[in-house]
């Protein structure tokens, strides 16, 4: 070729960018969720697969429609965030939930919670959790009847936390640690297998997409809170280990409390955020009206995020002021 190129593009420095993009991050998160999805299909059968497909497709479709309505020049529905929302939503509901309700959940998550606030990056609340809580409040019966694992005709059973709430500690004492760890319990699709969730979390951690600050603060606080009561009265309260392995605690701590958009950006805020989530979860589980409190507590703490970020900004300002 000629020594001198004739068409040059002027662009801003830096001319090197890291390979992380929203697409790459989101599809990695989606991949990290696959073990949990696979586990739910293993335990709850094909119906779980269909629920997942319906949730993902409807999420992407709703985002596509919103893109069109908002006349976006560039479509955002394929950037992977809607896929993650769909996958997470599926993991947050019982495999027996009617498809109509699943689609309604996607609508609440994508349209109401995310797009109406401005789309990815602008939503103050975690879309998946708003979807879940909306369904839980609207359809309490359907949302709390969990299919028992490995049962073909969808016999429903109460989740361990539900049994704990209604029947006390003695009723759950037959569940072994390994049963809880591998997920052989009734529950929403992805909350059951701790192993599958941890596998995904490890991937995200090593890619640098989540830090451990929030999950550790979250889980640690719940363990401490429930531990204190367990030590005080083991006959009435379940052990902290039981609390860690049941419900959506691990899924919530590693995949939803760490959502970039709805969690604080700096370390101090993240610690407070995580501890707040953990404390509220313990409080709701032991004394609240619902057996499970992860979704509520994360949503409540989401509301504090702007405040926590603001605090960091102010202290940063005073720290670097010229002497």
């Amino acid at each position: 070729m000629a020594a001198e190129p004739d068409r040059l593009i002027v662009s801003y420095a830096p001319h090197l960018r890291s390979s992380d993009s929203i697409e790459k991050v989101m599809y990695t998160v989606a991949a990290a969720l696959l073990p949990a999805t696979a586990a739910s299909i293993y335990y709850f059968g094909l119906r779980a697969l269909f629920v997942t497909i319906v949730a993902v497709l409807s999420s992407v479709l709703f985002e596509f429609l919103m893109n069109k309505i908002r006349r976006r020049e560039h479509l955002t529905c394929f950037d992977g965030s809607a896929v993650v929302t769909g996958l997470l939503l599926a993991l947050n509901i019982p495999a027996s939930l009617p498809y109509g309700m699943v689609i309604l959940g996607s609508f609440i998550a994508i349209v109401i919670t995310k797009e109406l606030f401005g789309g990815l990056g602008y939503n103050p609340f975690n879309p998946v959790l708003v979807g879940r809580v909306f369904l839980l409040i609207s359809f309490p019966v359907a949302m709390t009847h969990w299919p028992a694992p490995h049962v073909v005709d969808m016999v429903t059973a109460a989740s361990p936390l539900g049994i704990l709430k209604t029947d006390g500690v003695a009723a759950v004492s037959n569940l072994s640690f390994w049963q809880l760890f591998f997920g052989e319990i009734a529950g929403s699709m992805g909350e059951t297998s701790s192993l599958a969730i941890l596998l995904g979390a490890i991937v995200l951690f090593f890619r640098g997409y989540i830090t451990l600050t929030i999950p550790l603060a979250f889980i640690g606080t719940t363990a401490m809170f429930t531990g204190i009561f367990y030590i005080a009265d083991p006959a009435r309260y379940a052990s902290p280990l039981f609390h860690l392995m049941t419900g959506g605690l691990l899924l919530g701590a590693f995949f939803m409390a760490t959502d970039w958009v709805t969690s604080p950006m700096t370390r101090r805020g993240q610690i407070i955020f995580g501890c707040g989530c953990g404390f509220l979860t313990g409080l709701i589980r032991l004394f609240g009206g619902y057996p499970e409190g992860v979704a509520f507590s994360i949503l409540i703490m989401n509301a504090f995020v702007p405040l926590l970020d603001r605090w960091d900004l102010l202290s940063l300002k005073s720290k670097r002021e010229v002497a």
Binding site: S11, Y12, W260, D312
Partner: protein
């Protein structure tokens, strides 16, 4: 391993030219010498069209306190004086065009051999540095004689040679350290001799350049130097980060290095300073790296100041495939050029020829609040906020959020998954705020 206290990123290094010895590129037939190759006011031309000039002759005189002399880089005739010539900064600058006569005859009294440059008087040393038009050759081009003459009330106790060269691709300083360690150290000693005797002299080199560490350690034996190897992390070679790494001191917003008692000098500058004081050679040539993935013959070259970028590309045989970007400087802080007619200046440390295939897909997305830019910022700032304020045109609020503390290192933009042009918004904010003040 020592490094600075916060932030930083690890871009790929791409030091493709590290093993190539420095070669000399012949002076092209026509040179375009910019009168503004430094920070501060452009120099005033003191020659006219048709004048005969000799190599090293003063053709542009420093104008004011912060300015620098400009010299003819070869012998020949002044072809013309240009008002506007494209400069690597992206703006225009006045320039003097010289037709070379091919003899490279030095002007009288220059290119001598001083026996004992260290024993010259302080005034004489400073005069030779200022006469030779030495400026910081790492990028900013701050006049060196001004830097070496800080206000009287500041005490300097630390002298640092910046051998970090943290920009990907660039290797001129590395090659100089391997090939000319003795001269660099002499230059450093001359510069340090302007200050009190107990000024500590450090040589900071990133640990990914063990050869350079070895070469400098060998040359430094018995001298008043301490060689420090630094952790490889961008932007280790920025002044503030280097000072923090070596002395532990932090510069507050608005402070200059001498406020914390330290001065940082670039390797190439010290080499040029040595030549200025010991040989009375003005700064008319420099070492630069020509690199890029698509370049046929990557090289470390001594190039005469005023050679055009297209001359350099021609000399090395061009590229293997079509390229779409020419960048002067490194890929993190360098400037993309719109023409190959820009000349090499005193601060041109590299020319990169790049085929950027990503460029069309770099669409800015909204901030997803990942916090990566905050943990990457070596200045402990919140870059996303500055970008937000810029995008919302709330430019007046930017200085209150640390606008002036940012040194435009690009770490935040490098890591941002939403591909926001954070540095661009910051530069925009700085420009508008500066204009408003006037």
């Amino acid at each position: 391993m020592r490094t600075f206290n916060q932030g930083g990123v690890h871009p790929p290094e791409y030091k493709l030219t590290a093993d190539l010895a420095i070669e000399r590129m012949p002076t092209p037939a026509r040179l375009v010498i910019l009168l503004s190759q430094h920070l501060g006011k452009p120099a005033k031309p003191i020659v006219g069209k048709g004048d005969k000039v000799k190599k090293g002759q003063l053709i542009g005189a420093a104008d004011g306190f912060i300015s620098s002399n400009i010299h003819a880089a070869t012998s020949g005739t002044v072809h013309s004086l240009e008002e506007r010539w494209p400069a690597p900064t992206g703006q225009y600058a006045p320039a003097i065009v010289i037709e070379s006569d091919g003899t490279e005859t030095w002007a009288d009294g220059l290119n001598i051999d001083e026996e004992k440059p260290l024993e010259l008087s302080r005034e004489e040393k400073l005069k030779r540095i200022s006469d030779a038009g030495i400026v910081g050759m790492g990028g900013a081009g701050f006049p060196t004689h001004v830097k070496l003459n800080p206000p009287k009330d500041k005490t300097i106790d630390t002298f640092i040679l910046n051998g970090a060269e943290c920009e990907p691709f660039l290797t001129p300083d590395y090659r100089l350290m391997l090939e000319r360690p003795a001269e660099i150290l002499k230059g450093l000693e001359i510069a340090a001799s302007l200050f009190s005797k107990d000024t500590k002299i450090y040589i900071g080199i990133e640990e990914n350049k063990p050869e350079a560490v070895k070469a400098m350690e060998k040359a430094a034996q018995g001298g008043p130097f301490t060689v420090v190897s630094l952790k490889t992390k961008y932007p280790q070679g920025c002044e503030k980060q280097l000072i923090n790494t070596i002395t532990g001191r932090t510069m507050k917003e608005g402070q200059l290095p001498f406020d914390v008692g330290a001065l940082v000098h670039n390797v190439a500058t010290m080499f040029a300073l040595y030549e200025a004081v010991a040989k009375k050679r003005p700064l008319v040539e420099r070492v630069l790296t020509l690199s890029g993935m698509e370049v046929k013959n990557r090289k470390n070259l001594i190039v005469t100041v005023g050679s055009l970028v297209k001359d350099v590309i021609e000399h090395t045989g061009g590229t293997t495939t079509e390229i779409n970007q020419v960048i002067i400087g490194g890929p993190m802080m360098g400037k993309a050029q719109y023409t190959c007619d820009v000349p090499v200046t005193k601060t041109t440390s590299g020319i990169l020829l790049i085929n950027n295939t990503e460029i069309d897909s770099l669409r800015e997305r909204p901030c997803v609040r990942c916090g990566k830019c905050i943990s990457a910022c070596p200045q402990g700032r919140q870059p996303w906020l500055l970008a937000d304020l810029g995008q919302q045109r709330r430019l007046g609020d930017m200085p209150g959020c640390g606008l002036m503390d940012c040194m435009e290192c690009g770490s935040c933009t490098y890591v941002c998954p939403a591909r926001r042009n954070i540095v661009q918004w910051i530069k925009y904010g700085k420009a508008v705020n500066a204009a408003r003040k006037r």
